[in-house]
Homo-oligomer: 338 residues x 2
Amino acid sequence: MVTNTQLRLVRRPSGRVSNADFERTEQPIPALADGQALVRTHYLSIDPTNRLWISDRAQYMEPVALGDVMRGIGLGEVIESKSPRYAVGDQVGGLFGWQEFCVIGKGAVPAQSMPAIPGVPTSALLGACGITGLTAYFGMLHLGSPVEGETVVVSAAAGAVGSIAAQIAKIKGCRVVGIAGGPEKCEHIVDRFGLDAAVDYRSPDFADRLSQMTPNGIDVNFENVGGAIMETIMGRMNVGGRVALCGMIANYNESAPMLGDFSPILMQRLRVSGFIIGDFAPHFAQGIAQLGEWIREDRLRYDETVVAGLEAAPAALNQLFDGANLGKLLVDVHSAEH
Amino acid sequence: MVTNTQLRLVRRPSGRVSNADFERTEQPIPALADGQALVRTHYLSIDPTNRLWISDRAQYMEPVALGDVMRGIGLGEVIESKSPRYAVGDQVGGLFGWQEFCVIGKGAVPAQSMPAIPGVPTSALLGACGITGLTAYFGMLHLGSPVEGETVVVSAAAGAVGSIAAQIAKIKGCRVVGIAGGPEKCEHIVDRFGLDAAVDYRSPDFADRLSQMTPNGIDVNFENVGGAIMETIMGRMNVGGRVALCGMIANYNESAPMLGDFSPILMQRLRVSGFIIGDFAPHFAQGIAQLGEWIREDRLRYDETVVAGLEAAPAALNQLFDGANLGKLLVDVHSAEH
C-alpha cells in the first residue's frame, strides 16, 4: 500500500527551526469522496512566510496548529479524480502542505489549475512565473510605482522575490541597487541580473557603500528584510519615496515586535505599503502572462536551489535565514535522495 | 522709535522647552528695500512642529540655527509697502517668526495674501480655515481615504488638527472615535464635534475601551501622537487600512528614533503615508473654500486657545505637550498683557 509521508508541527520553534519541531508521520492515502481529487506533490515552495506560520505572532493567516501537517505551497499532478474540475494528469498548485500526497477539492484543500507555460520550466511555476514572480511584480509595480530614472533599492536581491523585483525595476528604466550577503552574491546579481550596483550588507562599510551607490537618494525601497538593513535604506529615502513592504525576514526567527523608525515616513513623506500576494489574485493571469513573456525574451532571469526529499524541508527553511540558497528554494518531494 | 521685539533661539532644548532656550532682543525695524513690505504680526501659530524645528533631528526643513529668530507661522497686516504685490492694509500669512514685525517680499520672507473669508473670524485663518484645517482636510481625504461606514480613529482629537480631521470623517459618513486626555476633553469632543465615541488615553483601560468603541476594527488612523497610543491603534487596524501620519508628538521632546512596530503594516497590508501640508499647496484654494463653507454651515466647529504676548510663546509650546490647550493654540503678539 502506498502511504503518505507527512511532516507535522509538534513544537513552536524558538529561533531557528529544528527537525525536532516536526514529526514524521505515515498515513494511508484517504479514499476520495465525490468532488475530490488526489495530488502527488512534486515541488514544495520554501518561503520566509513558512517561518511566520509556525510562530504564534499575530499574522495574516492563523498559525499552523500543533499536530497539523506543516503548511506549505506545493505544485503537483492529479493522479486520481472524482471531481469534474480536475482531470488525471492536470498540473495544480495550492497549500498542499509538507506531505507527499494531498486531497484537493470539495471539503478538502482548494487547488488552482497551473498548466504548463511555453518556454517556462515547471519549477518556475512556483517561482519566477508563479507566486514568487507575482509577489515581485505587483509589489514593485503597484506599490513601489517606480518611474524611469528613479533609484530603486531591493534588499535580499539574490533571493527569489528580490531578484525578480530588481529586474522588473530595471525593465522600467530605473537605477537599481541590490543588497545581498557576501561578495559572490553581489557580483552575481550585477552580472546575471544586470543591476547597476550591489552592496554587501555584511561589509563593515555597508552604509557608506549604499550612500555611494545611491548618489541621488532612494525613491523606491522594495523591502524584504527589515531590521538594520531597512533602517539604513530608510535613512536615504527621498521626499515622496515609496516602500513596498514585502517582508521583514530579519525578525521572523524572533517573537519581538518588528520595530522600525517611523521618522523618515513622516519627514520624507513616504508611502509605506504592506502587502501579501493574495491581495492581487484577480490580476494573477495578467501578471503571469507578462512574467512568462519576459522569461522567454531572457529579460527576466532567475536562480533556483532545489533540495532533495520532504525531510530536508526544515533544514531548507533555515537556509533562507542564513542566505545559503540562491534564488528560489524548492523541495523536490519525491526525489531519489529521499 | 518703534522697535521690533524678537525671541531668538540660543540653546537647543533637551526635553521640554524653557524660557532660557530663547533670548529676547530688541531691534530697530529695518528700512524697506524696493519690493519689500513691513508686516505687523497679529497672531502666531503654535504647533508641534515648532518643537521639531529647534531640535537637531533629521527633519523636513533645516532646524532653526542658534542665534536666529525662532521660526513660526504668523498672520499679520501690511503697515508699510515698497512692493506692488502688497498694499498697506493687506492681511498676509507666512513664516514671520517669533517677532512683532517682519519684512516680507524681495530678498526677505515670502508671504501669502490671506484675505478675510466671509463668516470666518480672522484667527481661524491660521486654524480651522488655514494651515490647520488644510492639514486635516488633505491628510484625511487624500491619505486616509475614508469610505462611508468605515471606522476612523483620530488621536489628539481635541487638538487643532485632530478635531477638524475627526469632523471631516464624520461629514464623510464614518464612525469616528476620538482619543483625548481626560474625561472633560472626551466629553467635549463628543458633545461639540459630534464624534461617535471618545476614549481617554490616560485611562488604565485605554486599550480595552478602544476595542469596545471600535467593534469592527479600524480602517483609518489619522495619527498625530505616535508612541504607545499609536501602537494600540495599529493593533486594531483592519486589512487594507490607511494611516495618515500627520505627527508623532509623543517623540518630539526626545532625540531618540521614533520607533514603532512595522508588523501590522505587513500583516494587515496597511498603507502608511507621511505628509506635511506644504505638499498640497497647489490645492489650498479648493481646500479653504470647502472648509469655509463647512464652518459657515456649522458642520465644522473649532476651539481656540489664545495666549497673550510674544513672550508667552515658549510656555505655550509646552502646553501642546501637556495637552493643556483646547483646539488651536495662538499667540496674540501685541496683546495688552504683553
